[in-house]
Structure formats: C-alpha cells, structure tokens
C-alpha cells in the first residue's frame, strides 16, 4: 500500500505506550469506559459483544518457568494516517479530516453496516449490539464528554476528543493559541489515569512535546507497520520479542523481519 495516501496535518496527536511500564492493571480500560459512557454488561465475558475502546492485550513469549515473560499491550484506536476504515464507509460516518488527525465516528450517521470493522486490522472498532442501559440511577454518573450511542451503530476510541475541544476552549479563554496547545494541555483519560505513566500523549510533530522524541526512539514501533496504515499510536519496548510480535511477521511471514517505521 502506498504511503502517499497518508493525510498530513500540522498537528498530529499521537500516543506512545511504554509496554515495559504497563502492568496490565486495567485502570485505562475503566477510565475509558467512564469517560465514554460505556454501559456495563452483565456478561462481559462475551467478548464478541463488549465495547473496549481501549483493550489491554496479554502477550507472552511462549516460554515457561523462569524464561517465561508476559507483556501487556493497551490497544486504543490507532488513528491511522491512512485509515482502512474511512474509505469503506458508505455514508461518511467516519472520516479523517480534522486538524490533529483523529479519525472521527459520528454515531447518528452510522448505519451499522460494519464494513469499517471488517476493514480495521486492529479490531479497534465495536458494534453496539445492545442499547446503553445503565443500572438504575447510574445514568446520573454519565460523563458529559460523549453522547450515548443506541444499538446498531459502530463506535471506537477517539483519543477522548471532547478533551481536545475542552483544551482548546481553555486556551481561548486564557488568550492562548487553541491550535498550538502546550504539552500536556490535552490528555485522553487513559493517559491521564495510568498509574505508571506508561501512556504518553502529545503532538508527534511538535518538538516541544515529549512524544516527538519518544516516537522516534530506537525501541519505538507501531503495530502491523507493513500494512502502511501509518498509525498515530507508537509502542516502546526494550524487549525484542515484544517488538517482533508488534508486526506479527507481516513483512515476510517470518518472525523478526527487519523493519523501521517511516
């Protein structure tokens, strides 16, 4: 696939997740559910029905005893530079057009065809099989950030986009520049809550933001890079086996194919 299709923006919101710091505690998943008003499910073990905008995967190196290693990999939406989901949407319910490069999903517009879900290689998109019915009274604890979605539409992580809007409002109020937010002015809920600070967030094109350097570090990689979707989510691990799992051998079909992100 060509990289030419990647949309360029002045600001590119990106996430850098340090897998050597992620304990897999799950605070990010909880914070995400709370921020985005995902109703709890009685049987959340049915993973075909759950909605996990950020999902913490468990990886292992396949060895046993003292050789065994485990790593946890939080997977938000990759906000691909060249997203596979956008061109397949028949009703333009999802697009990548806004400054910052976040892939939008507009629920009232979505017709629930789920082409985008089939197209996304990261399984970052979820279909609402049920209406968002909260236990009685719990709707009083809804977050003002995200509208509730009815059944029949697709949803996904949007880097807590409302927080981006709020950060811009604050910048305007304080006489700052809403299009040049300072590092840390805008943080998604997962990055904010992570108790080990494994998730860094910022503008990967802005030298003032710490993710600028982190995304270019020698241990940084992205998932399935060879697909050319150009994700805006980067991972960091000093462990080689983790980095190798990150490309899932997509380049050559063999483990450990040489690669470097562009």
């Amino acid at each position: 696939m060509s990289h030419g299709a990647t949309k360029e923006f002045k600001v590119t919101w990106g996430m850098v997740i340090d897998l050597d710091k992620c304990t897999g505690c799950g605070a990010c998943m909880t914070a995400c559910q709370v921020e985005n008003n995902i109703a709890p499910m009685v049987d959340a073990s049915n993973k075909l029905r759950t909605l996990s905008w950020v999902l913490v995967f468990e990886l292992n190196n396949g060895k046993s005893g003292a050789e065994a290693e485990v790593a946890y990999l939080p997977r938000p939406c990759m906000q691909c530079g060249n997203p596979a989901c956008v061109p397949v949407c028949p009703v333009v319910a999802t697009e990548k057009n806004e400054e910052g490069g976040i892939v939008s999903q507009i629920y009232p517009r979505c017709i629930g065809c789920r082409y985008c879900m089939a197209a996304c290689p990261y399984h970052a998109r979820y279909f609402n099989w049920e209406d968002p019915i909260f236990p009685k009274g719990m709707e009083k604890a809804l977050s003002p950030s995200t509208s509730a979605r009815p059944r029949g539409v697709v949803e996904k992580c949007n880097f807590c986009h409302t927080r981006f809007m709020q950060a811009k409002e604050k910048a305007r109020q304080e006489g700052g520049k809403p299009n040049e937010l300072a590092d840390g002015a805008y943080m998604p809920a997962c990055a904010e809550i992570c108790p080990t600070g494994a998730i860094s967030f910022g503008d990967v094109k802005n030298k003032e933001h710490k993710v600028f350097d982190l995304a270019q570090g020698k241990d940084a990689f992205r998932l399935l890079e060879k697909l050319g979707l150009n994700p805006q989510v980067y991972y960091v691990s000093k462990r080689e086996w983790v980095r190798k799992l990150g490309d899932n051998y997509a380049a050559t079909g063999k483990p450990g194919a040489a690669k470097k992100h562009s």
């Binding site: 340090d18 710091k21 992620c22 304990t23 897999g24 505690c25 799950g26 605070a27 909880t30 914070a31 559910q33 709370v34 008003n37 995902i38 709890p40 499910m41 009685v42 959340a44 073990s45 049915n46 993973k47 759950t50 909605l51 996990s52 292992n60 396949g62 060895k63 046993s64 005893g65 003292a66 065994a68 290693e69 790593a71 009232p108 209406d131 968002p132 909260f134 236990p135 009685k136 009274g137 719990m138 009083k140 604890a141 809804l142 977050s143 003002p144 509208s147 509730a148 809920a189 904010e192 809550i193 992570c194 108790p195 080990t196 600070g197 494994a198 982190l214 241990d219 940084a220 960091v236």
Partner: protein, 685 residues
C-alpha cells in the same frame, strides 16, 4: 355543482401534488429522522459546570488520594490528584470506577432488618438505631459477649469501635487478616516493634518475594509511581525489579526478572539467597548472625532447587545482582495480601538486615497517638476468632461487622459463614450487600467514600508515617445511609458511654491534631508525613530455625490465590465498570479458570478448558483449566474475587470463591494461623 367521484379524485390528486410544494413531507421526514436519533430510553448527558474535588477513595485496600470530577454537582469520573505526593496523579482501577459505584445496584439503600432466611425488611433509621442500642445494652458489661470484626486497618473508625467495646466491658475487636498483622508479628520475632515500611523509591534493586507490589500489595499506586520514576520511557532504567513468586503476575510482567517460586517455598528461597550472599562475603553485626549463617548454610542451591525448581544459575545471578546494587530492598509477603506466615516475612526481612538496609530501605513506623481512648485491636485475627466461635470456645451474643466480609474472605469460607450463625445478633455496617451483610440480622448502610469523612493512617508498606483525610464530595448521600461511626457514637451516648465525640468528622479532626497535622489541608487533598523511628532488628534466626523443610508432593498441588486489584477485594465485588477488563481466559460465562503450566496440567491429568474440582479440607470449588506457563511448577493459581453469593447481577454466581479451599494451619513457633501454603487436589469432573 355536485362533487362526483371523478371530481373528488381530481381534488385528491391536486392535494397530493400541492403537498409536494409544501414542507410537509420533507420537514416530517427530517423531523422523524431526528426523532429516531433520540430514543427516549437512551440516557441523556448531564449538564452544568465541570469541577474536580479532592477526595479519599477507600474503595481499594490502601486508599487512593484522588480528584472526583463532577458535572452540575454529580460525580461522574475519578482522576488523579497530581498535587498529592503519595498518588502523584495515579489512580488504581477500582477507584477509577468510584463514581459509578455510588449507584451500584448492590448498594444497601436503607437500614434492613432480617425477617427470615435471606429476607429483609426496610426499616427507619430511628428504629434501626434503637434495635442496635437495645441489643448491645442487654449485653453491656458481660465480658466476651460483644465482639467486632473490622476490615479497615487504616481508619480511625477502628478506635471508635474498640473504644465502644471497651466501654461495654469487652475487648474483642478483631481485624480481618492482613499483611500488616503478620508483618508486625514478624518484626517482633526480629527483636523490634512497629509496622514495617519499605522505601521503594529510594532503592536501586527491589526484590519482591511473593509481594505483588505493583498490583495489589501495599500502597499500590505509590509503588507504581516509584517504579515508574525509575523507568523513564526511552531512557535507561535506574533501578532493577525482581519478582519471585508463584505466578507471573502484573508485578512480574514489568520486572526485570521473574523467578517462579511455589508459595510454600518462600522462606526456603529467601534463606537460600541468604546463604549465597553470605558465601559471597555478606556479614551482619546482628547478634544472631552466627546462628543465622549456620541456618542459611543448610539452604544450599541444590536444596533450593528441590524446594522451588529454580536452577542454581538463576539463584547465583540474583545474588550477584543484589551484591552489585547500592541500595537493595527486599519485600516479602503473600502473593495475595494475606495468610502468609510470619516466618515468610522474617525470612525476607532478614535479607534487609543482612544487607544493612534496615533504617534505609526497610523502616519501622512509630506507634501513632490515638484520638479515642481504648486498647485497640486484639492480638488474634478474625479468622482465629471465628474458629473459636465455631468450636464454642468463644460465645459472643452480638457481633459488629465494619467494612469487613468474613463470610466470603476467610479460609474455609463456608465454615466461617456457619460460625457466624452461632452468634445471635449480628449487625453489619456495609455500603454494599455483601455475603456477610446477607447473613446479618441488621444491616446499616454505610456511605460510599465520596459521601463521607474518612481517613487513612499508615497504609501497610509506606516507608514513613502517612496520614490522609477525605471529606464528602456530594452534599447528600444518594442512598438513605448514615456514617457508621456517627451511628456508633450515637449508640454509645444512649448506652451511657462518653467517647468524647459526636461525629466521625470530629474524631478525624482530633486525630489530625494529635498527629500535628492540618485537618483542612488534609481534607483538601493534602498529606501528612512523619518520620520513621530508628531501631535495629536482628536476623530472626531463632524463629527461622522453625522453617519446615518443603517437599513437593506429587498428588496435591500448591494453591496460589492470585489477587488482581481491578477485580475487587473482599469488601468489594468486581465493579461493573471493571468487568470489561476480566479476560475470557479468566472468566467465561459463569466459569472461572484456574491456571497452571502445561507440565503441571499433564501431571494432574487435565487439559486446557477441562472442567475440574479443586478440593482441600472440607471445601471445594469448581472451575476450568487454563494453561499458563507463568505459573510455578506444581502450583495452581486461582484468581480471587469471584464466586459471589450476594451483590448484584454483575457478579453474583460468577466463578467460584478460592477462599473456600484455603486451609488453615498453625505456623511452627509463632502460633499464627497461616494459609498461604495451602495445597489442593485437582480432579476432572
């Protein structure tokens, strides 16, 4: 002119044509489509000003200093409090769900009186309080007739409860078993006193033996922050972390090294390490060094391999790492926060003595001044107490349960629940309908942490005296509940006692004053820190001489209960918002998965997905098998927190409760009841 059929048709056709030139169709279509976007059963968002207020979230065992975000006054989310030096902006996964837990369907909505097996009737507060006073009044002055079990080891509420019991002529205030309880005993065996603390932030090598310090042991968020500070993303790490324990858990996942050690071999592992360190030249000025040295010498690498399956090289590598470190620190504990023996603690802590790290890495906290007069908690824990109740050795007529769930979270849980049945009047102060509340005669709903004043003093593991205070975030609780301490203080007054306070807030103010802390600053999200006390420890050699040799039995498997903070605790079933994080290789439908390595499974004759029965003592539990190569050989790991029989539709009846198959044994030489070394038989069903 009459209107005939044809004329009528013309008018209709004209009408239809005319309608096309009006907004009727287009506007209606548009409006209907908008109507279809807002089904009445889809909840609407709340509006208003978004604010963040400092709070103390005691939903997790250690308590998180957080900020509660509100919209129009209604709490909706929990964020970190970056200004608080303990949590530094971090939040644990349970407290992250705190706002939603205010509206948990499992909340006790009003005072309840038992009217039959499993049946309750809502009663008024004044009637409930009168009933409490009546029942306690009858037994006033009769020693041994009133007891209390508490699961809150950090709050000043405990002083009020023990003060009340004292005033009523009783001393039976029992704590639920915990790491702190065992560790304090261990410190005594090492010739010292006080609660031990561990300075993870100041160490350059942290060896965690059993203690799941980065997920469920001690002040987890503070530990995680200390860990994170040594690992700047994209740069070299400044400290090493090693986890030695039965399961490759969350702590082990981010540690530099994982050494699988079966739960019963913890002490042997520590002494084997001591032997290698002494062999490499480590000496200590402790009075019992010679004795200790001789004892450690018995734990050669070969012996350690027999007990743990660890190869000699692994042990030698670890010893070399420790030797190379400038500020090593050893933390020993049970992988699930309780039930380890004092000897396991002593064996681990003795390494700190040997390495000269007591006072620096491992600290001792001074006793804090009390706000309420009284004697404090009993020397026995709740498990020992209920064991006495079941045999008739103890025969209380009334039991007060505060922030504890003994019917669920004590070994041989079913027996413990039966023992509770021997007590005529039981009252539970509980926010949620837990297993113990469901057995009680009176349930007095306690406020959620965001609805009340509460405090945290020295959560186990902190390196220096630490005090936090929380004030209510909301003006009024969302349920008809009252602060348990306020209720108890009121009852004390009616029983003719004077404890000196009217409300819990006053008690906490007095506590802050006694510590020399500023209450207002604390309630605004601040922290008070004191200094650890000095004092040396010996190596605990005489106690360690009783460490029993470990033999790996081929018929039974060692049981390693696994705690995963997100999945709740004894007093909190998995919050609805955290169910998503539970993997389908841990819980599928109603089946809990127990984990073991392929090798262990083969020996036990079971395979991935097999349905099995685990039994030990009188208890048994059902589960399915999931293969996990991160579990120590000969060990079966079982997640805690499942198999709820009360609570709500989100948790009730899902999986099974590992406490049912934990068996208690007496630890040699310490008189403690221990269950960290439980073994089980696994049979296919």
């Amino acid at each position: 002119m009459g209107l005939d059929r044809r004329g009528f048709v013309k008018i209709v056709v004209g009408g239809v044509a005319g309608t096309l030139f009006t907004p009727v169709i287009w506007k209606s279509l548009d409006d209907v489509s908008i109507w279809s976007q807002n089904w009445p059963w889809i909840p609407r968002l709340n509006t208003g000003e978004v604010k963040a207020k400092a709070a103390l979230s005691k939903l997790c065992p250690a308590g998180c200093a957080v900020k509660v975000k509100t919209v129009g006054g209604l709490p909706f989310a929990v964020a970190g409090n970056t200004a608080n030096p303990m949590s530094k902006g971090g939040v644990c996964p349970v407290c992250a769900a705190g706002a939603q837990l205010m509206y948990s369907p499992a909340r006790v909505k009003s005072p309840l009186k038992k009217v039959g097996e499993g049946k309750f009737e809502a009663i008024k507060w004044e009637d409930a309080e009168a009933l409490l006073v009546e029942k306690l009044g009858v037994l006033k002055g009769q020693a041994g007739k009133i007891a209390a079990i508490s699961g809150d080891e950090t709050g000043t509420a405990g002083e009020v409860i023990s003060g009340l019991l004292g005033g009523l002529g009783n001393a039976g205030y029992y704590m639920m078993p915990s790491e702190k309880f065992v560790a304090e005993k261990g410190v005594k065996l090492m010739g010292g006193s006080g609660q031990p603390g561990f300075d993870i932030a100041g160490a350059d090598l942290v060896l965690m033996i059993g203690a799941d310090a980065l997920d469920s042991w001690g002040p987890t968020v503070a530990n995680q922050k200390a860990f994170a500070a040594t690992r700047p993303t994209g740069a070299a790490a400044t400290a090493k972390f090693v986890y030695a324990g039965p399961v490759l858990n969350h702590t082990a996942a981010v540690s530099d090294k994982f050494l699988p050690v079966p739960p019963q071999a913890t002490a042997a592992f520590a002494l084997g390490l001591a032997n290698l360190l002494i062999g490499a030249g480590a000496v200590s000025s402790a009075s019992d060094f010679a004795e200790y040295k001789a004892l450690a010498a018995k734990h050669t690498v070969e012996e350690v391999e027999k007990a743990t399956g660890l190869k000699a090289e692994s042990m030698k590598e670890l010893a070399a790492l420790i030797r190379a470190a400038k500020a090593p620190l050893v933390i020993a504990g049970a992988s699930f926060g309780q039930g380890a023996g004092a000897l396991d603690f002593v064996a681990g802590a003795s390494l700190n003595v040997l390495l000269g790290r007591v006072g620096g890495g491992m600290t001792l906290l001074p006793a804090a001044p009390r706000a309420v007069g009284g004697v404090g908690a009993s020397d026995k824990d709740a498990a020992s107490f209920l064991a006495e109740v079941s045999t008739g050795k103890a025969a209380p007529g009334a039991l007060i349960v505060y922030a504890a769930n003994p019917a669920y979270a004590l070994p041989q849980a079913d027996d413990m629940a039966k023992a509770l049945g021997n007590i005529a009047f039981k009252v539970s102060f509980s926010t949620y309908m837990d297993e113990t509340a469901a057995l009680c005669d009176l349930i007095l709903p306690a406020p959620h942490p965001f609805e009340r004043y509460d405090d945290v003093l020295n959560p186990y593991g902190v390196a220096k005296p630490t005090y936090l205070v929380g004030a209510p975030v909301v003006k009024k609780p969302v349920m008809d509940c009252k602060d348990p301490v306020d209720v108890l203080l009121g009852a004390a007054g009616k029983l003719g006692l004077t404890l000196g306070f009217e409300t819990y807030a006053d008690v906490i103010k007095a506590k802050a004053k006694a510590l020399g802390a500023d209450f207002d600053a604390l309630a605004a999200g601040g922290i008070w820190n004191g200094e650890p006390k000095g004092g040396a420890l010996n190596l605990g050699a005489s106690a360690l001489a009783k460490v029993a040799p470990v033999t790996l039995d081929s018929k039974t498997l060692a049981l390693a209960p696994m705690s995963n903070q997100a999945y709740g605790s004894a007093t909190l079933a998995t919050p609805p918002a955290n169910l998503l994080a539970v993997r389908n290789t841990e819980l599928l439908g109603k089946d809990l998965f127990v984990q073991m390595s392929a090798d262990t499974a083969k020996k036990a004759g079971v395979a991935e997905g097999a349905k099995v029965k685990l039994s030990a003592g009188k208890g048994e539990m059902k589960a399915r098998v999931h293969l996990n190569e991160g579990v120590a050989p000969g060990t079966v790991a079982v997640l805690m927190g499942f198999g709820r029989s009360a609570w709500d539709e989100f948790t009730k009846g899902k999986g099974d409760n590992v406490y049912k198959i934990l068996t208690v044994s007496d630890e040699a030489g310490t008189g403690l009841k221990v269950w960290a070394g439980s073994t089980v038989t696994v049979a296919k069903i």
